[in-house]
């Protein structure tokens, strides 16, 4: 399956990634080759009632109860920018083409 540069850009946009034109071309080729390999799945038998999720057959049911979370100062110690106990980010505006 061939992937066009436009398709690579569309996927990159969904993944919040940007690539140089050269990397887009390289990625289109690499992804196409991997997807071609993955296409062999079409020739294997499947089970129709397969469910998404993890194979955790013996996990005990967890009680849904509130408990203490990380203290604010511990959380903020890892934040790239903070002010007066709050996390700081640039203003919320940007290109309109982000879906």
């Amino acid at each position: 399956m061939a992937l066009t540069i436009e398709e690579v850009r569309k996927i990159a946009n969904l993944a919040r990634l940007r690539f140089s034109p050269e990397d887009e071309r390289k990625l289109a080729g690499q992804l196409a080759r991997i997807v071609d390999y993955i296409d062999q799945l079409q020739s294997y038998e499947t089970v129709a009632d397969a469910v998404a999720g993890s194979p955790a057959p013996e996990a005990p049911e967890a009680k849904d109860k509130a408990r203490e979370c990380l203290p604010r100062e511990v959380f903020l110690a890892n934040v790239p920018a903070s002010l007066d106990g709050f996390l700081v980010v640039p203003e919320v505006k940007g290109p309109a083409d982000v879906s």
Partner: protein, 491 residues
Amino acid sequence: MSPELWDLPAEEIARWVAAREVSAVEVTDAALERTARVEPLIGAYLEIFQQEARIRAAEVDRRVAAGESLALAGVPVALKDNLSLTGHALTCASRILSGYTAPYTATAVERLLAAGAVVIGRCNMDEFAMGSSCESSAYQLTRNPWDLATVPGGSSGGPAAAVAAGSVPLSLGSDTGGSVRQPAALCGVVGVKPTYGRVSRYGLVAFASSTDQIGPLARTVRDAALGLSVIAGPDPNDSTCAGRPVDDYLGGIERGIEGLRVGVLREVDVESLGGASAANWRESLARLEAAGARIVDVSVPSLGASIAVYYVICTAEASANLARFDGVRYGYRASADNLTDLYFDSRSEGFGPEVKRRIMLGTFALSSGYYEAYYGRARGVLEKMRRELGVALEAADVLVTPTAPGAAFGIGEKMDDPLAMYLSDIFTTPANLTGLPGVAVPSGLDDRGLPLSLQVMGRMFDEATVFRVARAFEREVAWTASPAFRGAQAG
């Protein structure tokens, strides 16, 4: 003290320290000295906890003196750098986590510490555990102690190289598609992928949540079993962690395998691997028979799809799990004047090429118009594979395959061919996808003198039988080879 203290198995160190025949501080010093000698050659560590390790060792000596019984008293251990340890940097070998400090400790690591282990340092890995050679680390190259021109495997290349080189007798890695077993194979050590849910994933940075498991690496099967017995067990902090108690892995490990049915998968075309690997495989089966096992032929027709299934499901999960790295809450933040650019630039500058490739592939597989054809299809094939393996494991008590298609490959050899790199995990991914336990155990050397390995897979939560088979095989192989650090003089 004996100059070979660094070479002792974990089990023996713990026994000596508990009996106060040697102190944890002496053992730690020996490990640090050995590490200082080998580390310039292999580059297994991103950070060595020189001072802290000595302080922790002194604490272990005090606990022993106070009468505490510790399963890993004074045992030096190394951690893959995707396992949290409070107050320490945690990078996943990625630039996007530079500057991040773990605010809590992973359950598996907590249990090592409670058992008296001493953490020597955090080890290099493929970025976010995505790779089979340790070459996708954003920080450094790790070399295979057997031949410094070859890779240690991956993604737990650092923990495998550290154990093989004698820096520590025990380390922890994580295995999502073979990331403990494949580097263990390439470095000539034992590596364990436990049953999904056997070890808590709390404090392990998520890559693919439905297949990630933390597992031990060691130089002997007994040490690997000891390591797993310490870290396994229920944990309320991980909702996928099983509630059942942990078996006594060491209790029956020497019982032998007389009459045990060892299944060989018809679909695994070992002969196609060529010369040394095929010969070693035939020899391995003969050794299992010599130990009393009965070789039985089993079939899992969907096995050939495992890499394709893996690279749909795990990249899909990775694309979701790694969405959290956006430059807002932790790690690397790009300079940007609006929030959208901050997301795009932080991720584009912070992630390396292999991580981006897998995020792209996973996003593609989950995207509108492709979801059913790829993700849906992969889940259907996976379920079929799970059922077929279940049937195979009724006809056999364990299944065996080579762990990897061949011995360690050259540095840079597969970096430009992602698909060739992915195929390194062809024998290991089925256990991850279906949750089964698997152990890699050295099976001999190839014609270049590099280690080869046998994988033993078992039924869900039946690690005890898997260890028993691995131990019987280890005895038959009589593995005494050790890394030669080939290339050290020239390099």
